[in-house]
Structures are given as structure tokens and as C-alpha cells.
Symmetry: C2
Subunit: 145 residues, 2 copies
DNA sequence: CGGAAACTTGAAGTTTGGTGGAGGTTTCCC
DNA sequence: GGGAAACCTCCACCAAACTTCAAGTTTCCG
């Protein structure tokens, strides 16, 4: 088995054929064609699809995922090093999201629960007037120090 | 300042007034009314909004967030213990998402990058025929052991 | 007390991430 | 080589999560 049909890729990636066609229209994945114009996927596309699914599942929009994937080489099959580079450029972004979730998990009772969003006494929160300079929202959980 | 107007809550939470009205229609937050029928929010709503924003930002649908918030007491202002209980019930869910992101961060080069999605040799991956019994998708990153 | 800024409702519009069906073609297996 | 299963394109539709608009009301500051 050299290449995968759309049904095979769908079965292995857990992504519906319709979604795969949609991803292709957006330029997130690519497919060759059979003599009769049916899509044929290289095995390497499986990695791309897995990447897309996981990133999408944690709320990263497909356009941004596309930008990230655009960093992979166009001509050849991405190597481990290529994926490593992509991983590195996303590290900050992903770390940020992990911090967000850890905040949700660990500080819910501590920080949101204590009311520091509205009071100025919590050690974790900026005083309101300082935090306000950085825009609105739950600053400390969103990554300000 | 006893209660907040919708503009004030918007400024402090980083959520647009239109979104706050939308959340109210969905039953995620509640508001009192002024004599002239304008919304007035208790300070405790700020915590709910922060919770909603963070949860939504990591891809949890508003309906599920609503279910979680429905666990908070209706009659009185939620205490720290109430938030703790909510936090506990969400712990599994949030932990799962953190694992997903850590997988994206740490194992991108190791697991996706090594091609174990398509090959059977990676120690982290189930053999394909066993994984298939659990449905499709990148199983090990999605939480199977 | 006048007027600007902020608020009200309801309905319609937008963006994102897809799904479903019609009408036709290809592939694969016996 | 015949037929079922899988594929093709195009287009319409869907749901979630909001935003925008219109027409009118309230609040607050000087």
C-alpha cells in the first residue's frame, strides 16, 4: 500500500472525508490524484492531519494551523527535524494555553474563588489600575506576571 | 459601587457587552435590573465570566460550561467551597486537555514526528489493530494508555 | 434641566468549521 | 466484465458563538 484513499485516511485519522476535503480546500493538507481523479494521500499526510486535529481540538483556528504548517517544506516529505522546528515555534503558544488550563485547574478555588478578580488584595493579581494598562480580562490567568 | 453596569463588566472581564447579553440568554450569567430596566451585575458575576472565558478559550462549548455552572448554588453567592466543588468535577476534563497539549508540545517530534501514526513500531502507539477497537484518531495523544 | 453617552430589545448578519445530497465516475472484487 | 462500494464536484445547509443595526430609553454630568 503506497498511498491512502480518502476513506483510508479518514478511518486512520478519525477525521471525516468531508472534513479532509475541506482541509484541502483551505490548504492544510495536500493530495495527489489517481488516474481517475480520486485523491491519493502520502502517508506523511497522516501526521499533518493528527497535528491539525489536536491543535483544532484545543481551540486553535484552522488559519493559524495553516500558517504553522506552511513552515514545513513544500517540496519534500517533512523530516523529524522539520516537525521539531514547527514544534519549537509553537512552543510559546502551546505553553501559554497549558498555563491557562493549569490556572483553570489549580487556581480556580484560589484565585477566581477568592474574588481577586474584583478585589485588589490577592497576591496573584495586579492592582486593578496597573492591570488595566494591559487591557482587560483575567490578566494573571491569561499570562501576565 | 455596589453593582456593575454591562459596560463596566465588559471592561473588567474583557468580554463585549453583546457577548454578555448572549451569555445571559443562554443562562450562563444572570443580571438584576435597574429602575429603568438596565442590567446590573453583582460582583460575583465577574468570576463566572472569567470562568466562562477561560473554559471557552480552550474549546469547551458554552453548553457544557453552562452545565458546570448549573452546579453552583442558585440562591446565594457561590462561596470558595462551591467553586472548589466545580473545579473538582472539571479536573478530569481539564487534565485531559492539558495532557493533549503537552503531547502536542513534547511528543510532536517524538511521536507524530517519528511516524508512529502510520507505523507500528513506536513504543507509545498501540498496534494499529488494537487501537482500531477504540475508534480512530491519534489514540495515545488523545488519552488512551 | 439639557444633552451626550450608555443602555434597551429584536432581528438579521457574520465567521468558523464543517455536513449532506444530487448527479455522475472510478475502483475493486468475484 | 458486471455491479456494489467508494469516490468525484458543486452547492446548499447547519450549528456555535457572536456582532451589528435600528429605533427607542435611561443615566449621568455640567
Amino acid at each position: 500500500m503506497e498511498s491512502l484513499t480518502i476513506g483510508e485516511l479518514a478511518a486512520r485519522s478519525g477525521v471525516a472525508p468531508s472534513a479532509l476535503r475541506y482541509y484541502e480546500r483551505l490548504g492544510l493538507i495536500r493530495a495527489g490524484r489517481s488516474g481517475g481523479n480520486q485523491r491519493r494521500y502520502e502517508r506523511a499526510e497522516l501526521r499533518r492531519v493528527a497535528f491539525i486535529r489536536i491543535a483544532a481540538q484545543v481551540g486553535i483556528p484552522l488559519e493559524e494551523i495553516k500558517s504553522a504548517l506552511d513552515g514545513l517544506p513544500d517540496a519534500r516529505t517533512p523530516t523529524r527535524a522539520d516537525w521539531a522546528r514547527l514544534s519549537a515555534t509553537w512552543r510559546r503558544r502551546v505553553d501559554e494555553r497549558i498555563r491557562l488550563l493549569e490556572g483553570l485547574r489549580d487556581n480556580l478555588t484560589g484565585c477566581i474563588g477568592c474574588g481577586c478578580l474584583s478585589l485588589r488584595t490577592c497576591a496573584l493579581a495586579n492592582p486593578k489600575d496597573i492591570a488595566a494598562q494591559n487591557g482587560s480580562g483575567p490578566r494573571w490567568l491569561l499570562g501576565d506576571e
